[in-house]
Amino acid sequence: MESLNLFIKSIFIDNMIFAYFLGMCSYLAVSKTVKTSMGLGLAVTFVLTITVPINYLLENYILKPGALSWLGEGFANVDLSFLSLILFIAVVASMVQLVEMVVEKYSPSLYASLGIFLPLIAVNCAILGGSLFMQQRAFDSVGTATVYGFGSGIGWLLAIVGIAAIREKLAYSNVPAPLKGIGITFIITGLMGIAFMSFLGIKL
């Protein structure tokens, strides 16, 4: 029940895009058609679901003050938390590389359809943001961390598919010239964000 609450909370209330603006760069660049945004959203969800639990384990068994005590008494006072940024980004970059190689080997058609977006996930702020929020909120088990990663990914997927669908329709509307393209996308994202804020009242 706890996990279900966290899952729904991370999709709607703590939505990566509408509540924290993470992963905006690829969100704005790739959301021109529903098909490509769906592919990118799935890839982001997948990478988030893998990297958040891995970084959770790193955080709790290596980085946190006193986390190294399983090595022996002498390590009980070691605090490596200043290394967390560099270690997290290394995990993210290598995971993305790994996913890319696996997908290329076993599903060349999916690899071709994702194209350049796959390697770009490494520098998507939503991925690193997921790990940093995990560190900040100090989840109690690796399962909870996985649920959080998966939920955040689904939330991101929902947002990018939604804006892509609106942008496809927007091609037919009459927008003031200076706002065309990126300007109107900002405004619509803002309005969607306000709509998502109505979930804030839900107590889970």
């Binding site: 992963g23 520098v123 969607m192």
Partner: protein, 204 residues
């Protein structure tokens, strides 16, 4: 290209946020008050300029295939320094910025400038480019932070600027401006004003 053009171009015609659409995530999330916007702007200027210099010095020794990882490590190391400095000298602001200091690593401006400029230019030009782009980014942050704090809380840098007499006459703070989605709409307004003055930037 002239050095002056490298330094001043990113301020308006080639602004990283509103023209190149890079680094949106952090530009929006930290701007509900003016003070964190200024601190964030200074941190990004420092990181972009130094990362540009380091990568530009290393550019002939980095193998092309692993350059993303090398760049990420350099940027992550610089961000850790910034993070530790902020924690030591501006602890309150560092708490307000929370994960967004760490997210400078995946700020697209940093990676974008490294890829597009530092890999092909000398250290001095790269330094100027980094400073220019950092200031261009900071400018937008400060404008957004200024309007959101002024209209949302009636204060600037924490000092009351809207006189009490105005409140007595029935003026009220616009609480909506503090909510995250309004950042997008303020940026959209900046884009609108900017592009109606620079018609060549308008999208078809």
């Amino acid at each position: 290209m002239k050095n002056k053009e490298i330094l001043l171009g990113p301020l308006s015609k080639n602004n990283p946020v509103i023209v190149q659409v890079l680094g949106i995530c952090s530009a929006l999330a930290v701007t509900s008050k003016l003070e964190p916007s200024i601190v964030m702007a200074i941190s990004v200027i420092a990181v972009v300029a130094l990362a540009n210099v380091v990568i530009s010095l290393l550019r002939n020794t980095i193998p092309n295939s692993i350059r993303i990882i090398v760049q990420l490590v350099v940027v992550a190391a610089l961000v850790i320094i910034v993070d530790q400095v902020l924690k030591a000298f501006a602890y309150d602001v560092s708490k307000q910025l929370s994960v967004f200091v760490g997210l400078i690593i995946t700020n697209c401006i940093v990676m974008g400038r490294l890829e597009a400029f530092a890999l092909s230019h000398g250290p001095w030009e790269s330094f100027l480019d980094g400073i220019g782009n950092g200031i261009g980014y900071g400018l937008i942050l400060v404008i957004v932070g200024f309007f959101r704090e002024l209209l949302g809380s009636g204060t600037l840098l924490g000092f009351q600027v809207i006189p009490q007499a105005l409140y007595d006459m029935g003026y009220a703070n616009n609480g909506l401006m503090i909510l995250p989605p309004m950042a997008l709409i303020v940026v959209a307004c900046i884009i609108w004003v900017h592009r109606s003055h620079n018609t060549e930037l308008q999208e078809k």
